[in-house]
Symmetry: none
Subunit: 403 residues, 2 copies
């Protein structure tokens, strides 16, 4: 089902929808035959919802494909990540909450070190500490190019964001200048089409100013440019689904992806306990709220099985208050799996729980909310981008297809 089709079917009223994302929720057994993190966690509130709601597994991108956070969340918002792709520069802009405008060209930049003949000797400037990179980026941000403003913002260590805002309209089909190896000069800035030539011209002029800006620095004295991209012109989530929408998240990246599809976004301190107050305060009048919990993914990335269990339990503890603050359809899931034993995102299908609205309910021989129960759940294995239509249907917000 394409977003246009959904939009044609959605009604103007219905129940509210609350999406609780426990980042990296899906897991693997800590030892062969043992429970996963979610199965090991004591989750009385999720278990009670699982007994009356519906369970299943979703694939954010596809079989065997490990999703990044951007594609994982886009899928949960109903956008097929294989169809809706974000460039790396635009994603970097989201991550630091740069207010990217339509027409801006965003670039992921690496501070690097070149020798006196301009050859790259370190592609990451020795992974320069962030506090040392900030003044370099500030100097680079002051480079002037006629007819354009070139923003430079430090991200982390050697990584920076560059945004070209030009008087002349420009595309972003421009090749990376990172040669991918050391001992050679950076590649020239080459536009793949005439439409992208204006931004390429700006960046050539800007690169000519780098030498003066960095002065006599012998480290982090040049910049490699990658992932030229723009804000995509996608259908807006509030228009597609007809939902007044709000994202509540502690990390800029997740507010950024929500804003990318047209949701409003509010920052909160980290920790599920802060979500309740924020939801009570900002949820009024909203049809859809997306809540983001980071701790589950962080524990998984750290390889800390027990910490992930604890993070799931902490989220479970606030669920009654979340439901009280925002009744209606309730969807709990992750944007991907992050098994502690892998210390990374993984391709394994992600458990989900849908409560509220009519459903067939409890089919699992396994009790509670866990990977095995979800595998046997009434909703089976579905694509991540199919969750929004399911939640919409349960909220009474999708009319009949055809007469």
């Amino acid at each position: 089902m394409k977003l246009d089709d959904i939009k044609a079917l959605r009604t103007s009223d219905g129940e509210s929808i609350l999406l609780l994302v426990l980042d990296g929720l899906g897991g693997l057994p800590g030892e062969p035959g043992g429970p996963t993190e979610l199965e090991a966690a004591g989750t009385p509130n999720l278990d009670a919802l699982a007994a009356t709601g519906d369970l299943g597994l979703h694939l954010p991108v596809g079989q065997g494909i490990t999703p990044g956070s951007g594609p994982g969340h886009l899928a949960l918002f109903g956008y097929d990540p294989l169809e809706y792709r974000i460039g790396r520069g635009a994603l970097e802009a989201l991550g630091v909450e740069f207010d990217l405008q339509p027409g801006d060209v965003a670039i992921r930049a690496n501070l690097c070190t070149v020798d006196e003949r301009g050859r790259v000797v370190d592609r990451r400037a020795g992974r320069i500490p962030t506090e040392e990179a900030i003044p370099v980026c500030e100097a680079l941000d002051r480079i002037e190019v006629p007819g354009a403003r070139v923003f430079v913002q430090s991200v982390k260590e050697h990584r920076a964001l560059i945004v070209v805002r030009s008087e002349e309209a420009s595309g972003a089909r421009i090749g990376d200048t990172d040669p991918g190896r050391e001992g050679v000069e950076p590649l020239p800035v080459v536009a793949a089409d005439g439409e992208s030539e204006p931004a390429a011209r700006v960046m050539r002029a800007w690169l000519n100013g780098v030498g003066d800006a960095v002065g006599d620095r012998t480290k982090a004295n040049m910049v490699l440019l990658r992932g030229f991209s723009q804000l995509p012109a996608w259908p807006r989530f509030p228009d597609v689904f007809g939902l007044e929408s709000l994202a509540i998240a502690a990390y800029p990246m997740y507010r950024g992806v929500a804003r990318l599809v047209g949701m409003d976004a509010t920052a909160v301190p980290e920790g599920p306990e802060h979500l309740v107050g924020a939801l009570e305060q900002h949820g009024a009048g909203r049809d859809f709220v997306f809540l983001h919990v980071k701790a589950t993914d962080k524990a998984g990335e750290d390889g800390d099985f027990d910490a992930k269990v604890a993070a799931i339990e902490a989220a479970d503890a606030v669920i009654p208050d979340l439901r009280a603050a925002f009744p209606g359809v309730f969807l709990v899931t992750g944007d991907h799996s992050t098994p502690a034993i892998m210390r990374s995102h993984s391709w394994h299908p992600v458990p989900f729980l849908l409560a509220g609205g009519p459903g067939r309910g409890g089919s699992s021989a396994h009790g509670g909310f866990g990977e095995r129960a979800c595998r046997q759940g009434s909703l089976g294995l579905i694509r991540g981008c199919e969750l929004m239509p399911l939640a919409m249907a349960r909220a009474g917000r999708l009319s009949k297809f055809g007469a």
Copy 2:
């Protein structure tokens, strides 16, 4: 997920992948309520792997669609058979290991019998025995056409392969000359576009030479042409997946499909016991080896339930040696089902077993490796072409999609 997307994600190293294809593995109960061939077979080695690995069912083409051997194997190699289609002529060339070159036009030919007025009286020349067909094909192979070489090779009974290798570049959009019924003349050779006219012209000239070549024969004295096609310009398996790849198979057809996607291929005598030595001898330095066992399919086609059970058991017996010779990720499945009670390929989903690498594992109430256990397996029902991404992920060979 398209092959281009996979290629963009694949890494340059990781574990090895061993694909063991038991041709026509999927079956049906020999009697209502009874076990399938695979369930009836004593397979201690597969059962042990099933206890720790992951099970599922795959559909090579789609629901209700019975796959031929070509599409079935293409799916296992990760190529969606609905997108990657092989012409019948090219498939015939693979089957006899004709060294088809880019630009060659391959044609599936039937020896037929025409009367003195040129009307087809038997479209298959009385299913002429192969040994009688061979001298006819040899005579036809000697027909000379200016500017081209027209190879003719006997396949089996009345079936032959014709390959046009022309000095002039040509397409292969040329209609069949088989009128589909008797009592009428063969259809003329008609190209559907100008690009295909050169090969059509060659074949018209060649057909004019058939009369002299067959002399005074009153049977098998003409040729019907079908399935004009060329070597497809597909992405190569070793490039897409980044795998040094080898096929080991007794039958030319399976080596041919493997070569079609760019794998190397080695012939072995029939029987799973020969696979072990071949794998030990030729597997070194390979990232991916495809092993083919024909006996399962053959027994199914013969309608011999017990012989299919025995063929599965014989394959099971060599599995420890295969695993020892080529450790890493191990995928065991079929290219389609061939239930003995149907005496033919069928559309039923095919059981598969994935071992090695991280997985959620054992969920089935049914023990061992069989259709019912696979239906309840942790990996569910998937498309055949999704197996390679899953195997790649488990081998640690796919990086994250998006940041």
